[in-house]
Amino acid sequence: QLTVGFSQIGSESGWRAAETTVSKSEASKRTVNLKIADAQQKQENQIKAIRSFVAQGVDAIFLAPVVSTGWDAVLKEAKQAKIPVILLDRDIDPSGKDLYLTAVTSDSVHEGEVAGDWLAKTVGDKACNIVELQGTVGASVATNRKKGFDTAIAKHANLKVVRSQTGDFTRAKGKEVMESFIKAEGGGKSICAVYAHNDDMMVGAIQAMKEAGLKPGKDILTVSIDAVPDIFKAMVAGEANATVELTPNMAGPALDALIAYKDKGTTPPKWIQTESKLYTSADNPQQAYDSKKGLGY
């Protein structure tokens, strides 16, 4: 039986909680003993956790890095101890390519592009003023999702981001920021679409629009990322238009790669990219909701 130490970032969002739940169930499916150390969003704690995994002599380490840099030293220690490391959910800085076995991640720039492309396609040639709800300032996911979206809409002169503020990835801030966007843009009449870096902020923004007497999903298009259950609920109600899935199942592919590596010695590819699937109201949101709601979001 394998023992795997998993340095998880924390539980800052529902998606993260779901990832933890799914990882546990994927591990038990494969009878792997998964030790999870929660870092409370702090890199220091993740480094400490990896050190103590090394000290305890686990068979492999999963790391969901809170930032992309600063892992060289501690990963070298793991390498010296001959413990393979697999990155989940986020890549680290290239200087350490040989320090880990593989990375199972989505491409968050690509996620932003998928969202942007959908919006461009849906709007067509109409002029469209977009407001953007950013994630936490400085978080790499936020930076990348912004970058991807900007590239996608740069090709369309009729699409323009008129306002962009941070909503800290939370519902409450998403709602507050949307409220002031609505006021700043003449009661929301001139806003054609909202792009949020995650679904939670969008759920808050949808409430703000409704309270202002606007019809989200109809007057104002919405597109966001993550595909958490609550956004499907909104889609069912016709209040949300699209979301890009970020699968919480990173551990499954990672465990498969690890087991293959341990049993047969097959070296996995350096990057196992997860799918960034687009869901719209045409994709049976009710069914998606039902399948996701038990996952611990």
Binding site: I36, E44, A49, S52, G70
Partner: protein
């Protein structure tokens, strides 16, 4: 006749905690764990020494976490983007930090404003400036960094005393001397005892205030350098919330938040206690995110309660007056 000092009690509490952990986990009592404790908490130790001065003088410095974040970004950008040699970058950084701390101290003194609020504004400012400099995390590739991270004094039993651990120990030693054996240190205690009286006794409290916050910011900058050694990167979101950890470490170390009492070595032990709590939780390894938080809180309470209990036993009951209103 002398009662045991708070430092002794804190040290005893730490030893007791360590023994309990060692009994529970077989690999715990090793030089590796001890060395990790020093390395992992090096930046906290450095910044906490600065905070000790501030708190003993009757103030508080909430900006330290942000200053650490700023420092890592500054070092990363100047070495990577501008190509400055790291040592030059450090020097510039420490000068900037000194100016920042001096400015906070000056505002506190000249306008007679509460340190809590001035340094809170400092906290916003330092973090805000790091966002403006870069929102991305920048790896540092300077050769000095790999040299520093490779350096280490091997201890018997697999532990390794790293460079940053040594930096922290040096800062603790330096802080102890400055605090306990110089006029500057005595003045710091004096200001915490009674500001007005200190001024009447002929101490320039204005320049003292400026220098104390300068020291704190410089040590926070140094902690930022240590942090950048630790992670070999600069990131604007690093060390969020560290100010509270620091204050907790200082207070657990026996320093009174109302000022006038405390020791540098006590702070060091306070930092180790914080680290011990973390290590315990990591060794346990079965706690979910929320149980981790709850356990941290419970352990914090256990340590503080133990400390209070021992203080009471030592017969100081007379000095402790109704809690919040001492």
């Amino acid at each position: 006749m002398r009662r045991p000092s708070p430092v002794m009690i804190t040290a005893l509490v730490f030893v007791a905690g360590f023994v309990i952990c060692s009994l529970q986990f077989p690999n715990f009592a090793s030089t590796r764990v001890v060395a990790n404790l020093l390395t992992d908490n090096a930046f906290l130790g450095v910044v906490a020494i600065g905070m000790t001065f501030v708190i003993i003088s009757g103030g508080i410095d909430l900006s330290v976490g942000s200053v650490i974040g700023f420092s890592t970004v500054f070092v990363a950008l100047t070495t990577e983007k501008l190509g400055l040699p790291p040592l030059l970058a450090f020097a510039i950084l420490l000068v900037l930090c000194a100016a920042f701390g001096a400015a906070m101290g000056a505002v506190i003194h000249v306008f007679d404003m509460p340190p809590f609020i001035v340094t809170l504004a400092g906290m916003f400012l330092a973090r805000g400036i790091s966002f403006l400099m870069s929102t991305e995390s920048t790896p540092i590739t300077a050769p000095l960094y790999s040299a520093v991270s490779d350096f280490g004094i091997a201890l018997p039993g697999g532990g390794r005393l790293t460079a940053i651990a040594l930096i922290m120990l040096a800062v603790v030693a330096f802080g102890s001397i400055l605090l306990h054996f110089t006029r500057f240190g005595t003045n710091v205690y004096a200001m915490g005892g009674n500001r007005t009286a200190t001024a009447l006794m002929g101490v320039e409290i204005g320049s003292m205030t400026v220098r104390i916050y300068m020291l704190s910011s410089v040590l926070a900058g140094l902690a930022g350098i240590v942090f950048s050694f630790y992670t070999a990167a600069g990131y604007s979101l690093s060390a969020v919330g560290v100010e509270l950890d620091t204050i907790a470490a200082v207070v657990i170390g026996g320093t009174l938040l109302s000022g006038g009492q405390g020791t540098a070595i006590g702070t060091f032990i306070g930092v180790l206690i914080q680290g011990l709590i973390q290590t315990y939780i990591n060794f346990d390894g079965t706690l979910s995110s929320w149980w981790t938080k709850i356990a941290t809180g419970v352990l914090l309470f256990a340590f503080i309660a133990l400390q209070q209990g021992m203080v009471r036993l030592a017969g100081r009951s007379r000095a402790i007056r109704a809690g919040g209103v001492t």
